[in-house]
Every structure is written in C-alpha cells, then in structure tokens.
C-alpha cells in the first residue's frame, strides 16, 4: 500500500474553480481538501511542499505514440510513461499505429499489460480498420470489451468515405468515439511540409491545407449522416477550425484537439531542412497559429494533445523528404500550452476536457474532492527551465524545443495515490 501524502500550500485549480487548499491523499484517493486539513493526514504521511504552486487534476494525453510493440528503439510504454509522468500526466492514450497495430484484442491486451508497469495509466486506442489499411473494420466490439473507448487509424486518415461511414455507424452502437487523422492522401501526395511560401522556396513538396480540410469537411458530413461521435485529431489549419466551429454550432457530436507544436511553430522552422521539424500534419503558417489559439479560447477546439511521436536519431538523420514525421511532446506540452493560454484554460485543455473525450473521466480530470481517485499534478507556473534533449526521459531526442527556455514546470505527479514524480524527479 502506498504511503499517505500531504500536499501543502497549493492553489487548487480544477473544473470546479480555484481555491487555496491543502490536500490529503491516502489509499489511492483524496481524503481531504481544504485550508486546514493537515490534521486529517495520517501521522506517517509524506509531506510534499506545494507552496506557490498549482495543484490540479493530472493531465490526460489523448494522443501519444508509445511505439511498443514494434519500435522499441524509439520508445517503450515504460519510457513514454516516464516522460508523461514528468510532463504532469496521470494518463495517456496510446495510439494504435504500432507494429503490429492495435487492431485485435491480443495486441491491445499486450499494451495494457505493459501499461501496468508504467508510472502513469495507459489507455489504448484501437484501429478503425484491420491493419490500418482503410478497408475492413477492426473488431471494435472485442476491443471495446477490453475498455477501448477511442478508435483511430492515426498516421493516416480513413480515405474511403464509405468505410468511414460504416465505422461511424458501427461505433455509434458501441458508444465509442472515432478519432480521425484528417488528411486526403492523394492531395497530400509526397508532401514533406506545409505547402506555401516556404515549401516553394525550399523546393520541398508540400501538403496543402486543403488536404486536411477536405477530410474534415467530409467527416463533418458523415457525422451528420450517422449521428456518430467523432474526434478530430491534431487540427492544423484555420479552415479546419472554422469547419469544426460550424459543426458544433449545428449540434453534431464532434470534438477536436490541437498539438502543442501547432500553437507555437510555423513552416519557417523547416528552413534549415532539419527533419526534427517534420511532422504530420505539417507546421503551418502564422495565420493558422492565431486561429488555432482562438479555437482553444472559444472552445471550438476541446483539447491539447501531444501527438508525442518519438523517432530514434538515425531515423531523423535522413533527407528531409525521406525522414519520418513526428516530434516529442509529453515533457514540454504543459509549458508550451501555458505560453499561449491562461492557466485555467490550459488545464482544461490538458486535463478535464481530454479526460472526458478519452472516457477516463472522472477518475482522471475530475475535481479535486474528497473521495476522488488521486490523479493529480502540482505545477510551478513561474519556474523557468531550458529544454535539453539529452535530459529528456523519452528514449528519443526529437524535440523541436531544444535550447528553448520555457516557463511552467511540473513539480509533483500523483497517479492513483502514488507520488511518481517528486520535485521534478521520477521516483524509483
């Protein structure tokens, strides 16, 4: 049984609001919350200083590529879990584009079992189609029975509209959500970066914004047709935000996320042909950044999800157009989010809203209240730190923020009542 904890001096911020309180944790749950609850702590409770810090529900990542099984040289469920814990996450959703992909119960069970040894809770997303090939539906019922709540062929979108329609119809009955990587493969072609002024100058094939928007528009129509629940992964263009805004206004069951890097980086970052800045969807333009941030502010976009995509150094040492897309995100997402959003909104987008989409609420992301499962994080919002790729817990080094000085750092992370990160260091 884990040791009881007394978190002292924090400002608690959750969906219920903001207040000064100490928090007592024991037996995996929150025992007491309030200004004078220190007395309620068991005598042997470990005291964690949280003065000057914000105590919030643990963060929840809707979109992490943990690479296991199949690409353990890039990341494992355990190393990805450690990175998540350091990033303030209490739960992550592992993406199914592993090798083999999570398109059957056996692989889902394997990843879930690996997750038990991870410092954070690992939920699994399943594939929509067998082999993520976009043709036959994966056994979604069998996977749902294991607790899978999110299905996606992420890495690619389901290209065939008829297949996507069937999947939405089928998922509706199961009460699960489909998550789409919106990209028309033919329009995207061999594109290696955003199509625009920079790609034209650099002579790199581009992915037009329309490649994403065409599929967002199609899937909005399919959500209307089927009444299915649809989540848009990593939206990257101003046009996509507008399409989702209208779909929500119409009352369709759609949600959307944005990746942190799409809030702070543009295609100009590709000027040096460094494949670290190659990502899918690609880094877009200033105007897209502005509209994505506005989408978060007005609630059109529900969540910030990392799209944490580790790649071993040799994979990123390729020519730009041959290198695989993707960048790390778990350890930097919170600070990046705080650089563009106020604290409460940032936490909503990183914790309770994604927890609801992932079907992990209220165990994760729920209000910090007596009797709640103790999945918490303590953040020092004014601490500054410099990103050193060599010191990341991820097995890979492909962070786009190397050398950046960020503000806002995770101090403690508590998962199911266990302090897994204390004073910015992993425990055990």
């Amino acid at each position: 049984m884990s040791r009881a904890l007394l978190l002292r001096g924090a400002e608690v911020v959750d969906a219920a609001g903001r207040r000064r309180a100490d928090v007592v944790v024991a037996d995996g749950v929150v025992r007491a919350v309030g200004p004078d609850v220190a007395g309620a702590a068991p005598a042997r409770a470990r005291v964690l200083d949280a003065s000057g810090c914000v105590l919030a529900p643990g963060l929840v990542d809707l979109h992490a590529h943990l690479r296991q099984p199949g690409a353990e040289e890039s990341e494992t469920v355990e190393t990805g879990g450690r990175a998540a814990a350091l990033g303030g996450y209490s739960a992550v959703v592992a993406m199914p584009n592993t090798d083999p992909p999570v398109d059957c119960a056996a692989v889902a069970r394997e990843v879930l079992a690996l997750g038990k040894r991870s410092p954070v809770e690992v939920a699994v997303a399943g594939a929509i189609t067998v082999g993520r090939a976009g043709e036959r539906l994966a056994p979604m019922g069998e996977l749902a029975a294991l607790g899978v709540r999110l299905f996606t062929d992420d890495g690619a979108g389901v290209q065939d509209g008829a297949v996507m329609r069937r999947a939405l119809d089928y998922a509706r009955g199961l009460g699960v959500t489909l998550a789409q990587h919106c990209e028309d493969a033919r329009l995207a072609g061999q594109g290696a970066m955003h199509e625009g002024a920079w790609s034209s100058r650099l002579g790199l094939p581009g992915v037009p914004a329309a490649a994403e928007e065409a599929m967002v528009a199609r899937d909005v129509a399919l959500a209307r047709l089927t009444g299915g629940r649809l989540h848009f992964l990593h939206l990257s263009t101003a046009g996509s935000v507008e399409l989702v805004r209208r779909a929500k206004a119409e009352g369709l069951l759609v949600t959307a996320e944005v990746a942190p890097h799409h809030l702070v980086l543009t295609d100009a970052a590709c000027a040096g042909y460094d494949p670290t800045f190659k990502v899918s969807p690609p880094l877009r333009e200033d105007e897209d950044l502005v509209r994505l941030r506005a989408g978060l502010e007005d609630g059109t976009i529900d969540a910030i999800a990392t799209d944490h995509a580790p790649h071993a150094p040799e994979a990123k040492d390729l020519p730009f157009d041959e290198a695989p897309p993707g960048m790390l995100g778990l350890e930097t997402a919170l600070a990046v989010a705080l650089s563009v959003l106020g604290l409460e909104r940032a936490l909503a987008c990183l914790s309770w809203r994604p927890a609801a989409i992932a079907g992990l609420a209220p165990r994760h992301g729920g209000p910090v209240a007596e009797g709640a499962e103790a999945n918490l994080c303590v953040i020092d919002p004014s601490a500054t730190w410099t990103v050193d790729p060599a010191r990341l817990a991820s097995r890979s080094r492909n962070t786009p923020y190397a050398g950046w000085t960020l503000t806002g750092r995770v101090r403690h992370t508590i998962v199911a009542g266990d302090a897994v990160v204390v004073d910015g260091e992993l425990v055990r």
Binding site: S199, S200, R201, Y273, D321
Partner: protein, 304 residues
C-alpha cells in the same frame, strides 16, 4: 563563406567575385597545358546520390584542372545500395581526408544537412531536389556576361517547369541579385504553389514576352519527376511553351537562349533552334568547367 549551398549564400558581391575569377580560369582552359597547380594536395569528392553525368564530369574536370585529387562516389555502385545512410557515407568519406564535397541528391536540402554533419570539409551543392543548382546559375550568368558584357538591366525570361526546377530557383536569385529583371513564363500548374518573396514577374503568353527578352532560359520538362501530369500533354506544352523556330524568329537581335541540359529536342526547344548561334548551350558546358574551378578555388584556396 564556408560552403556553397545556395546562391543566397553569395549575394551580389560573391556572385561577381565568382564570375571575375571564372574569367581567369576560362583563360586556363584555352592554354596548351589546361591545368594549374593551384589545389595540388587537396582532395575533392563528388558525392552523387543522384546520377548526373554532365555535372559530375564538369566538377571533376574542374577539380583536375586545379590539380586536386578527385574521389568519385556514385550511389548506384556503393554502400548506399546496401542501406548505408547519407550521413554515414559523408562521415566515412570525410574521414578519408577530403577537403571538399560536391553533393548531388534527389532530395532538397541534403547539401545543407551535409554541411551540418561535416567537421571541416567545404560543401558544394551540385543540385538538390527542386531546391537549387547554384553552379548552373552561375555558369549561366557567366555565359550571358561574356556575350552581353553585364547582367544589370537585362530582361530574363525563365520558361517552363519552374515548379520542379532547382535551376530556376538558383537563376531567379542570381539574375535578380545582379540587377536583371526576371519573368517566369509557365503553365500555372508548373509554377511553385507560392511566389511570395520571389523577385519575379509572371507571364502566361510566351509569344508576347519573347520580343522583349534579352535572355531566354529554357528549363527542362522534368518528365521523370512526373511533370507530365501537370499539363494535358507534351504536345500542348510544346505548342504553348516550346521554343519553336516560329517563336525563335520573335526574338530580338542579340537575344540569348540558354538551356541547362540535357535538352529534349522537340519538346522545350526545337532542334533547329538549339543549333542557332544565339543558343549558348555548348558554350555553357565549356564555361561550366571554368565557373566550377572558380567555386572550388574560392572555397579551398581563395578568400571565400
């Protein structure tokens, strides 16, 4: 300057310096002994991950005329086939004591990446994807300078598949840096998706543009890169953008025609036009050696 990766690395003064030094090397090419001891003891490797006989031969001839040792690497007959990465290849070859690497690759940006991987080698871009082919643009400028005395104030048409052309990107930078006005003439599907920041005008009608031109730079239609799909047919392309004998007659007296080669006679240039005296195609090839000597000399021996 430590590398030649883009025309932008040179700027106006750098380009002018290359052209001036190239003139001295052009004279070397006309001597009974076409070789100078300038880079004796230096070693230059040509790393061609994409085949190109003429550019490779031109660089190797240039290096040999400078008395440098030349190591020739071609991806087709190498460890790359066995799966070795570009980075490992570069590091291995540099370790053999090379002073300069001439890099050609089908992917844009590889010479830029190579310049980050080398410890002390100078890197010369021998053509990368659709990005740039700086020495080709320099030799075009040199050839035009020889014929017209100067570039400033000339009206240059760049005709054809600009979208997929590394030559066009380098030419636009070089000609405009030297004070020429550049007009792109192409089907709009073969223009880059964005021309923001390009110092160019765009025209659609070749017939209307030709009489005003001092220099017409014809680009190759990159059929092997799938450019064919960007126009309805080669026939229609030639009809609208080929330099036919009828169109050649529209050229002002003294106007020049350049082509980076290899030419597809009958598509972008009619056979009888390619042989006209204004067509500088073979002189471009000869000048290519002098310009590449100048670049290698300035990087390895001179003040660059």
């Amino acid at each position: 300057m430590t590398h030649l990766l883009s025309i932008a690395d040179l700027g106006r003064e750098g380009i002018e310096e290359v052209l001036r030094v190239a003139e001295a090397f052009a004279e070397v090419g006309s001597r009974p002994v076409r070789k100078v001891p300038t880079l004796r003891g230096r070693a230059i490797a040509t790393l061609f991950f994409e085949d190109s006989t003429r550019t490779r031969l031109s660089f190797e001839t240039a290096a040999k005329r400078l008395s440098a040792d030349v190591l020739s690497f071609s991806a087709a007959s190498s460890s790359v086939k066995k799966g070795e990465s570009v980075r490992d290849t570069v590091e291995t070859i540099e370790a053999m004591g090379m002073d300069a690497l001439v890099v050609r690759h089908a992917s844009a940006g590889v010479p830029v990446q190579v310049s980050r991987w080398v410890k002390r080698c100078k890197v010369v871009n021998g053509g990368d994807g659709w990005h740039e082919h700086p020495t080709q643009a320099l030799l075009d400028c040199f050839t035009v300078c020889q014929a017209r005395g100067a570039i400033g104030g000339l009206r240059v048409l760049v005709v054809g598949d600009v979208r997929h052309s590394r030559v066009a990107r380098s030419q636009v930078l070089a000609y405009s840096a030297l004070g020429a006005s550049v007009t792109l003439v192409a089907p709009s599907s073969l223009l880059p998706p964005s021309l923001e920041g390009w110092p160019v005008e765009v025209a659609d009608d070749l017939d209307a543009a030709l009489p005003e031109a001092d220099v017409v730079s014809l680009l190759r239609l990159q059929a092997e890169r799938g450019s064919g799909a960007f126009v309805p047919s080669l026939r229609e392309y030639t009809a609208r953008y080929g330099l036919t004998a009828r169109r050649a007659a529209l050229l002002a007296p003294g106007a020049l025609v350049t082509h980076p080669g290899p030419m597809i006679r009958g598509v972008e240039i009619a056979s009888d036009v390619a042989d006209l005296p204004q067509a500088l195609v073979t002189r471009q090839v000869a000048n290519g050696v002098a310009v590449r000597m100048a670049v290698l000399f300035l990087l390895l021996g001179g003040a660059m």
